[in-house]
């Protein structure tokens, strides 16, 4: 059935062709590394240094003290004072500030008299995730301030020490233990996730271009008329691309650990095995695309569209799959990125191996075989026309 020699010859021919196109060859290694560099340094998901402006209508010691909580925080970046509410809205509309704090008159007077006083915060909601996080910071600062105010007031009223009063207002402490990533280093998470993302996007891209190129140039007719079987052609054709992608696995792994300092706590052998399966799988996506389109432009745009969005949004890269809505969860399970995200995060950051991740590996194997079988049946040696 399958002739190993024919496959080897085909693979060698493809390899020579790739080598001859110097720019293509160089870019097939450079593009993944550049993506890793650019995104690894440039995606900063920590919400910090939010630029804000202040409208302080009270101008008292307590209002200044309150604002100091924001000014001294690394989450906020003070941009200056304004003198009217009207001045704030163009600043937010122009993205000069993301947050504005308005302290009304009588702020200090009310608090000293034992009455509540409002503080208004305006948040730019253009980036909902950042707005939500900023809101969390504001709530936390206010809660801390309130606990302090309350403790002082109780200490005064009930004649206990400030220390006792503090224990009274917050009887339950929350002890936090961060697992796997104790320093909450988001660069680690991003670097590990990028390995998944880049290996999702680049192998299909290479493959689709490689196969459709033959179709568009017409050189595929040589294959049609030859004695090479479908299976031999597909395997021989794609082996070099899988090889390039496996080398890229190592390059990306090295960059994630050496450059971005991500730990690798898991089992290297398991990770390599899973990565090879994953690369075979994503190469299969490229193969599938190249069989349904006829031009390289269409192949490029189609691979970009069917790989980028699901691997960013439905992979667990940004949001855990369990937090997605039902329909989105189904989509996530239909796509291989999610399984490999589990493997990457597990191997790099969590330090778990086969015993936990075997289900994910199994799903990848099924996915890869399915895609290759589908392509095998889609590929016809006798074209319609």
């Amino acid at each position: 059935m399958m002739n190993i020699r024919r496959i080897r010859v085909l693979a060698f021919k493809e390899w020579r062709e790739i080598l001859r196109d110097r720019l293509f060859f160089v870019l097939s290694f450079v593009v993944p590394s550049v993506l890793m560099l650019v995104f690894g340094y440039g995606i900063i998901l920590d919400v910090e240094k939010l630029p804000f402006a202040v409208l302080d209508q009270d101008r008292s010691e307590m209002s200044r003290d309150y604002l100091h909580q924001f000014m001294s925080s690394r989450y906020f970046d003070y941009q200056g004072d304004v003198h009217s509410e009207q001045a704030l809205s163009p600043l937010i509309a122009d993205s000069k500030i993301r947050l504005a704090i308005i302290i009304p008159e009588n702020f200090q007077k009310n608090l000293i008299a034992g009455r509540p006083s409002p503080v208004q915060t305006l948040i730019d909601g253009t980036f909902p995730f950042r707005a939500q996080t900023a809101k969390g910071y504001v709530i936390a600062i206010n809660a801390a301030k309130n606990a302090e105010l309350m403790a002082k007031w109780i200490a005064q009223k009930q004649g206990v020490t400030l220390e006792q009063a503090r224990a009274l207002v917050s009887p339950v402490r929350l002890e936090l233990r961060y697992l796997y990533n104790q320093e909450l280093n988001s660069r680690w998470s991003v670097a590990a996730a990028l390995v998944m993302f880049i290996l999702m996007v680049s192998p299909p891209f290479l493959t689709a271009l490689g196969v459709v190129r033959e179709k568009e140039n017409g050189s595929i007719y040589n294959i049609y008329t030859s004695t090479v079987s479908r299976g031999e052609f597909l395997i021989g054709k794609l082996l070099p691309y899988i090889g390039i992608s496996i080398i890229n696995v190592f390059i990306l792994w090295l960059m994630a650990t050496a450059l971005f300092g991500a730990p690798f706590k898991g089992d290297p052998l398991f990770f390599i095995l899973a990565s090879v399966v994953y690369v075979v799988c994503t190469t299969g996506i490229g193969l599938f695309v190249s069989l349904v389109v006829h031009t390289q432009v269409a192949a490029m745009i189609m691979t970009a569209i069917i790989t980028v969005v699901p691997s960013v949004l439905y992979s667990g890269l940004l949001v855990p799959v369990s937090s997605l809505e039902a329909a989105a969860q189904i989509e996530a399970h239909l796509f291989p990125a999610m399984y490999y995200t589990n493997i990457v995060l597990g191997s790099f950051i969590k330090g778990v191996g086969f015993e936990v991740l075997w289900v994910d590996l199994f799903m990848l194997v099924i996915y890869a075989s399915g895609l290759w079988l589908l392509s095998f049946f889609l590929f016809r040696k006798t074209p319609k026309a």
Binding site: F24, G42, P118, T126, V169, I301, E325, A328
Partner: protein, 390 residues
């Protein structure tokens, strides 16, 4: 002379029209490509906008309740949607650890024995929360929300013990937190994602399509025919760009009215004609990038790779994923070289914030000068390529 000049212009325009029609025809004949373009402007944006939220949403929590009291149950009950979701009780920490390892839950809450008793006696007590921080951002959010929940619970318990009710808060010195989120009061992620995805699609297509149309002529050798024809380089290029602009603007209109407006109820606060005008300018600018890429490569595969190399920084430096204030110093200045940065600023400004030119003029100026430069550079490079082939 006065008769000849208009004739010349007429001829120029006729050539432009004929060639643009030829480019459009070529585009429409590629059925798979047309399908992909339609998909990009509809389904792709729909998928990006539906069901995905960057916020902490129903994070699974396992509970080890060593107290089994009313107080402990009350606290556990506070960990509920939208932020958390109880995954049930486990007996010991090793089971909880296994669930965390497998990613079944994101956190486990450990309540000590005598929790209720200590609360009643007014002694400080502590509950422990273990959080999976392999996704650092979500881990931070979970910690922050858990802090809010426990803090509020503790305060309520303290007030309760002191015999104070919620109404009595009116007579306590406290800051009333009145925050308002502008432009997207409910932090609807779909509004953000659909606009971001639309702009990304526009960017990809406006770089790839003209680049591919140009390199295809090179690869197939049809460029020789164009060189020997009485056409100037700009007459060869402009139809390619114009036909793509036509298709992209059409797609944008479909996407804006059908997907963003109808499906996701994005409130178009500003002027839509202004948005389309800005889009037109933007597509022109990025088409220039495509032309530059086309002059640098010999075949489509190379163009494809080069495009990714260009696209990644353009998208990254646009501020969609990392706004300017969060960028490290060097990258922050580099953003001024990404045309998408200006387009994002104006796009969100017009569509969500309702801003007009009085506020966005500086971005418009930036895009115009950057786009003008890129497009001129692209045409200049193309001229050079044509001269070489001569």
């Amino acid at each position: 002379m006065s008769v000849q000049l208009p004739k010349k212009i007429l001829l120029w325009l006729r050539r432009l029209r004929v060639l643009t029609a030829k480019e459009l025809l070529q585009l429409f004949r590629d059925v798979a490509l047309m399908f992909v373009i339609v998909y990009a402007f509809t389904m792709d944006i729909y998928i990006a906008g539906s069901g995905v939220s960057l916020q902490l949403n129903k994070a699974g929590i396992a509970v080890i309740d060593n107290d089994h009291s009313i107080a402990s149950r009350e606290l556990i009950y506070q960990f509920r949607p939208p932020y958390f979701r109880l995954n049930g009780e486990v007996l010991d920490s090793s089971t909880a650890m296994r669930l965390l390892d497998e990613g079944q839950v994101m956190a486990s809450l450990d309540i000590p024995p005598k929790f209720q008793q200590h609360l009643m006696e007014g002694r400080q007590t502590a509950v422990q929360l273990q959080i999976d921080t392999s996704n650092a951002v979500l881990g931070t959010l979970a910690a922050s929300y858990a802090g809010q929940i426990v803090g509020k619970y503790g305060l309520d318990a303290a007030l309760d013990r002191a015999g104070l009710t919620a109404e009595s808060l009116q007579v306590l010195p406290r800051i009333e937190d009145r925050h308002r989120v502008w432009y997207n009061p409910n932090q609807n992620d779909a509004w953000f994602f659909t606009i971001a995805e639309l702009m990304t699609v526009i960017t990809v297509l406006s770089i790839v399509l003209p680049a591919a149309a140009t390199v295809r002529e090179k690869e197939r050798g049809t460029i020789e025919q164009l060189i020997v024809s009485p056409l100037s380089p700009i007459q060869i290029l402009l139809p390619k760009v114009l036909s793509m602009i036509f298709v992209i603007l059409l797609g944008t209109a479909v996407s804006i009215f059908l997907i963003l407006g109808l499906v996701f109820d994005v409130p178009f606060k500003g002027s839509l004609p202004l948005f389309f005008a800005v889009t037109l300018l933007y597509v022109f600018s990025t088409a220039g990038i495509g032309l530059v890429a086309a002059t640098m490569s010999r075949n489509l595969a190379q163009v494809g790779m080069l495009t990714i190399m260009i696209l990644a920084p353009v998208i990254l430096l646009s501020g969609v994923w990392t706004p300017p204030e969060a960028m490290p110093p060097g990258l922050r200045q580099a953003m001024y070289f990404s045309p998408l940065y200006y387009y994002i600023e104006m796009g969100y400004g017009i569509l969500l914030k309702g801003a007009g030119l009085d506020i966005l003029w500086d971005s418009l100026l930036g895009l115009t000068s950057l786009g003008g430069f890129i497009f001129t550079f692209g045409v200049w490079r193309f001229n050079g390529v044509l001269d070489e082939s001569h």
